[in-house]
């Protein structure tokens, strides 16, 4: 009985001790880009900081900063744009593509 109590207590301590280590460090990695162990600096949304309200399909220069070389729309995890602005940006880019201000697929 004495042996059972001494062997059970260290066994209960180690499973309790281990989750606290990776449990604290875990949210630090997937909090930024998924798959990295250390913290990547948080990119800020360009539209939120500069307080740009209207993203029009007409200002091609602004939109071109968010379009890749082949004409594809850059995902927001690379540009740091927030969700609302990414959705508006996507709508503007698709309108601009329809009116031949931006290409659908470039650099054949």
């Amino acid at each position: 009985m004495a042996d059972e109590t001494t062997t059970s207590t260290p066994r209960s301590e180690s499973p309790a001790g281990r989750p606290s280590g990776p449990g604290g460090r875990g949210p630090g990695g997937p909090g930024g880009p998924g798959g990295r162990k250390f913290f990547r600096r948080k990119k800020v949304c360009k539209f939120c900081t500069e307080k740009i309200d209207a993203i029009s399909y007409r200002d091609v220069r602004l939109l071109q900063g968010f379009v890749a070389e082949r004409g594809k729309i850059v995902p927001r995890r690379l540009t740091g744009v927030c969700t609302t602005h990414q959705r508006r940006l996507t709508k503007a880019i698709k309108q601009a593509r329809n009116i031949a201000l931006l290409p659908f697929a470039a650099r054949f």
Partner: protein, 145 residues
Amino acid sequence: MQRFYEVMFIVRPDVADEDLDKLITGLEQTVTHGGGTLRSTEKLGRRKLAYLVRKFGEGNYVLLTIDANGSLIAELERRLRVSEPVIKFITVRMDEEEKRLAKVKAIRASRKKLSAIPAEAPEPAAPAAPAPASAAPESATPASA
């Protein structure tokens, strides 16, 4: 109910200037006869197209901003579709966007006015409308104490 629209269309590059003007005046008259108001007409000039449209690499861009109802827009689009010099067009509805922008601007103007009042203790611009109401008694209590 008048809604605010932006109509942008591309005219083929080999039309003469006076033909282009004639086309634009014709469309403007369609708008005014149909009961709409024309806010502005902008000729954005000749631009290189991002891809070939009807074998053209360049086009004359024209932008019309109008206040109209839905049936007038349908008529205008039908005219643009059948007119031979127009190779592409897009109609974007802007009245909701305008309302949203006006609301944001109004919020920003009201915030700036409140922070400009020198009577209260210097406090950074309040993030929302309820905050200034709560900030006033908050700043008053340390002043009284």
